[in-house]
Subunit: 411 residues, 2 copies
């Protein structure tokens, strides 16, 4: 008998049939005697369709109204899921974010949760109901509807799990957990059974789509035990939790992202404060940046290169336009032909052997490394797009498959 917070993403409730499948799944948990709080996202492409309508009417719609509009997507989901559960004879109570007591800041489209008043949820649980909460949304102190931005439903689920002191939080998605590499590229990729918050955070940051970075960091901060698993089968997925320090640094996964752009500002004036100016303009538009390199080439000017996500392309162009008025750089190059591959694992950057092996493998495969960045949890290299898939496979072989064999041999 646990108190479990479950989150079903948009692809898990994309059709009425899938909605019914989710209801059947919830029924099984309910009949085992668990108390359930279920967070749902908008069905399938609903959010995109609503956004398309808004942007047809307005090049930059008021953010308060975007929240008013988008929040209807999750509201439809909670009502339909409650209806589907009732059809199975399972009592439930649907609640919008506001009704569930999720109070946020005023910052529309990317509000932060400041308080959760769980009394209506507890009331529903006491009445032996499945409580269904609309993900991604809350309300501010003025009773206006707010949304939490990207990954909002994952964050709702983790926040409720914390506020309700739930036993754990299950994130249901369309893959069966976190893998050592993308199985579409590396057939040998294996599911990771347990991963630390830090490692998961780094993987989410590097583009693993299984769970949103912000929610991972929230779960970490509040020590919420998370189980990422597949809606459509009953296998165990990946547990994200506090993992004791490994004695040895170990590569846990190889990740890649082709959805990046390398930006080079050539001939930027070589004076103090110039980098701050550039990255302030990008930060103001919430563009996240990776792999910054400054050349020390000529005396009066230098080059600045960095990597951004393709989804931020229009923001990046806007920031550069603004910079043009302030800084006299000579040229700008946007390179769309690069990919970022990374190895992830606690402590790997402190083990020089691992970096060396990564670069050696890439060299043996004739891959030219364009940029490198490291943290304590990962080493990333920017490489030509056409080398991405074979490089991922080679690194997976080196760090995951072969290490596996060693362990078995030693037993």
């Amino acid at each position: 008998m646990s108190l479990i917070v479950q989150k079903y993403g948009g692809s898990s409730v994309a059709t009425l049939q899938k909605m019914q499948f989710v209801a059947e799944k919830i029924k099984k948990y309910f009949e085992q005697g668990h108390q359930l709080v279920v967070v749902v996202s908008a069905m399938g492409k609903t959010t995109d369709e609503l956004l398309h309508k808004a942007f047809t009417l307005h090049p930059s719609p008021p953010e308060r109204e975007l929240d008013m509009l988008l929040s209807t997507g999750e509201q439809v989901s909670i009502a339909l899921l409650a209806i589907a559960l009732d059809a199975l004879g399972i009592p439930s109570l649907s609640l919008t974010g506001g009704q569930a007591g999720i109070i946020t800041t005023d910052l529309h489209t990317k509000a932060k949760i400041i308080h959760i008043d769980v009394h209506r949820i507890l009331e529903g649980l006491e009445q032996n109901k499945v409580v269904i909460v609309a993900g991604f949304q809350g309300k501010n102190l003025q009773d206006d509807i707010t949304t939490l931005g990207r990954g909002g439903s994952d964050t709702t689920a983790c926040a409720l799990a914390y506020a309700l002191k739930a036993d754990f939080c299950e994130i249901f998605t369309d893959v069966n957990g976190v893998f050592t590499a993308d199985p579409r590229i590396v057939p040998q990729a294996k599911k990771i059974d347990r991963i630390s918050y830090d490692e998961m955070s780094e993987m989410a940051n590097l583009g693993a789509k299984v769970m949103q970075l912000r929610a991972v960091d929230f779960a970490h901060a509040y020590r919420v035990k998370v189980h990422v698993r597949c809606t459509f089968d009953d296998q165990e997925g990946t547990w994200i939790e506090e993992v004791g320090n490994m004695e040895n640094a170990q590569v846990r996964a190889v990740t890649h992202s082709g959805d990046v752009i390398k930006v080079v500002l050539q001939g930027v004036p070589n004076r103090p404060g110039i980098a701050a100016q550039i990255f302030e303009a990008l930060a103001n538009l919430s563009v996240s940046i990776d792999m910054i390199i400054q050349s020390e080439g000529r005396e009066t000017v230098k080059d600045v290169a960095f990597v951004v996500l393709k989804e931020d392309e229009s923001k990046v162009k806007k920031a550069i336009e603004e910079l043009r008025g302030k800084i006299n750089f000579q040229n700008i190059i946007l390179d769309y032909e690069k990919s970022r591959i990374s190895i992830v694992g606690a402590g790997i950057a402190s083990n020089p052997q691992i970096a060396y092996r990564m670069f050696k493998i890439l060299a043996e495969n004739n891959v030219n490394i364009d940029m490198i960045s490291t943290s304590n949890l990962r080493i990333s290299c920017l490489i030509p797009r056409e080398k991405m898939e074979e490089s991922v496979r080679a690194l997976h072989r080196e760090f995951i498959e072969e290490e596996k064999i060693e362990v078995e041999t030693n037993e």
Copy 2:
């Protein structure tokens, strides 16, 4: 400079293009210096589509969840209208029913308004914003979303006009007001410039779709001046207001409805209380009934006939099934081949000449009258469906076109 409450129905905002047209229209009013509170319905067929989803999952979905589901339709409309207005540079504030302070009873899917706390609307108006309110919805004292049932958006508009002491309430629809008959059947039909609440109520009751009965009765009770007009042109429509007693009874309009079913219960036991039992079963299912006739034929049994709306067909069948267990009637006939035609106008039933002329005209046209019912405001006859159109034309000629000519001759 007036304070005006406007209501735009689902057909007025059915597409993004129409939404933009409505925004342009609001802009004109706003720039003339009026204070505006705009009530909108769900876009086009949205409500039907949502209902279809609910009934796909459940033969009779829980009503609280239907309200949670359906209320999203109007919420999408208010957000998109606010976005369209912003694109035109007009400041606005969208509010759900609950945010607008519309507090209702708990009766989901047909809640009644018990209180309106207008402070957020007034705040918006004071900030010189167009205030946009989601029609058809409110919230109960437990913060649950409720809906007002059929004609809910008209009721929202009239209730807000009353609560805000607005100068008047404009109901925008796809026809240009109330007509003396359906122009598709009677090309000579004319727009009525002014009509009393009582006459409008009777016409709504008889199937004129221009404004919902419940909203007319609300407007009457609270003396809200209503202007029914067309979204897509600028002509004056029909004013519904207190009209001083006419010296002479006058037929204002000829209405018809083919969407009726004649129900005959044959061989019902002839004992006291039997009619009460029958109509209690129908009332419990909210079936409205017209034209009740009891035969006094045989000694121990009698026939009971009445007319119901086709939209209530399934409820009627359910009520009859329930009755079968309690009353031994011999046979039941559902007759789908009848239509109801009516003449409407204050005081006409008290003028025997008018009834006589109506029956004479129908006789001259070889129309067999099956049932008759009257009130102080109307005389209705049930006639064969195939005679409906020519009968409407003949009555319109007799009571509206010819009376018009007389008046002109006398001047």
